[in-house]
Amino acid sequence: MSLATLDLPAPREGLLRRLSDVLVRRARLLTLLLLLPPLLWLGLVYLGSLFVFLGQSVFSIDEFSGTIVREPTTATLLELFRPANLDILLRTIGIAGGVTLLCAIIAFPIAYYAARYAGPKVKAAFYLAVMMPLWSSYLVKVYGWKLLLAKEGAIGWFAGKLGLGGALEAWLALPLVGGPSLSVSYTGMVLTFTYLWLPFMILPVQAALERVPPHLIEAAGDLGAAPGLVFRTVILPLAMPGVVAGSIFTFSLTLGDYIVPQIIGTSALVLGQAVYTLQGTAGNIPLAAAFSLVPILVMAVFLTLAKRTGAFDAL
């Protein structure tokens, strides 16, 4: 077959062709040109505004006039350690920890079943069943829980019908986790967060479990380990990177959220709400910036630790 029968587009002449030649011969120039627009956007606009905002944490606010004093000081950062502010930080980290734990507990059986027992059809169905809530509207999901948790809502009704009304009352009477009704308690808030971020835990755990070689499990069984022991000593350690990878999402997403605590939960502030009120009504941008540094720092530490466990391969 000769080239002529291939019906090739005729090579172009002129400026475009010359430009093309330059780009093909100089791969680095091409990379640079491709990279320039997105880099201008993210590097200049986004990163720039991020630094300007976070940088203000070294400024302070004049208590009388309410204006920002543009002199470097550590006073604003130290303000984070005042008891009221420390309370907010610890409360938020506690909630994020609880959410992460609950997500891991609920996600594991789903991921384990999908990874080890499900056939191709069931696996695809599981995948869609996890992806659909993941990509459903965030506010819609929060709204769903507001419906369920309301005092007159479905959970209370079912608890009453099943004779568990007393148990629900007793739970709500507990200090810390309780409250006047589920929708204004930490229990409700943690449940909502768990629901929102659960798919982010399921997917990496499943990915990690799918990489556990089946012959390792068989070998452990051949060597006399009971199923429970195999699970604890072989499967669980190998699934841990997935759990850690999922925790990155569940933890960081909870740390930064300020919408859910506005709608469900107690009146005590969490970190996101604190930042929101500080930058808005309070007009204290330096302290808002200082608060914003906390989740970033916590996540940086978290990510460094996670990198050591190999969690990034499970993402």
Partner: protein, 266 residues
């Protein structure tokens, strides 16, 4: 392969039920006659809320704004995300790692930080709030979704295809149009749909970059904080589920023969 223990089956199914039951309740409450509370079971059923939504101009204005913002943000993200993927898929150069981290940063950092930072920047540069300030915020985190999908596909595209095209006389632009684009087309489509869904649904960054304008999520947020006709919110919620779910389903079918949909980070 052995059969799953019954307890595992029950735990897995209960977990999946947990993921879906709240969405079913939203659907149920679309039809309730009770508009002042979330009383369960609903005292009666009616279809009138669908008619109410149809007649509400504020809702349709919010839908219009959301669609407009999501379309522009998706287009921008497609262009910038593809460019970034083209540059980073194969090239090895100093600073590559930090740059790919930079692309992921907008979804890795809490939305509230991104939102306030952008709001401050608009204030400093004296840019008034408009459709474009919302678009700017949305495109920032949509780029990564397109980038993830495109970069995964580009890495699987054999370089010899491109070399063959050039050997046969096509220039770089023709090669892009005739060889590269058809190969990454479905990945871009999938990435674009996910970006669209993400933008259509975004609320945290939007609260800071919207000013007085109301996208659909902003409208819903104000209804959640100060409810008026509660079932109306339910009807809108179901509408939102449909508008975001269909593109996601399409994205799933477009990419299912390759790697998993590269959007696992929202």
């Amino acid at each position: 392969m052995t059969r799953a223990p019954l307890s595992l089956k029950i735990a897995a199914l209960a977990g999946l039920a947990f993921l879906h039951i709240p969405l079913l309740f939203i659907l149920l409450y679309c039809f309730t006659t009770e508009e002042k509370s979330y009383a369960f079971p609903p005292p009666g059923f009616t279809l009138k809320w669908f008619g109410v939504v149809w007649g509400r101009a504020d809702i349709w204005a919010a839908v219009g704004l959301s669609l407009k913002v999501a379309s522009i943000a998706t287009l921008l993200a497609l262009v910038l995300g593809t460019l970034a993927a083209g540059a980073l898929a194969r090239a090895r150069f100093f600073g590559r790692e930090p740059i790919s981290l930079l692309f992921v940063l907008p979804i890795a950092l809490p939305g509230i930080v991104t939102g306030i930072a952008l709001r401050q920047a608009f204030g400093l540069m004296e840019i008034p709030f408009s459709v474009w300030t919302i678009v700017l915020g949305h495109a920032t985190f949509c780029i990564v979704v397109v980038y993830n999908n495109a970069v995964a596909r580009l890495r699987r595209l054999s370089p010899s295809l491109i070399e063959a095209s050039m050997d046969l006389g096509a220039d770089a632009f023709q090669t892009f149009r005739l060889v590269v684009l058809p190969n990454i087309g479905t990945a871009l489509l999938a990435g674009g749909m996910l970006a669209f869904a993400l933008s259509f649904d975004e609320v945290i960054v939007t609260t800071f970059t919207a000013g007085q304008q109301s996208t659909l999520p902003i409208w819903m947020l104000s209804e959640l904080i100060r409810p008026r006709q509660r079932p109306v919110t339910n009807v809108v919620a179901v509408l939102v589920i449909l508008v975001t779910f269909l593109p996601i389903l399409a994205a799933y079918y477009l990419t299912r023969h390759g790697e998993a949909v590269a959007g696992s980070g929202k």
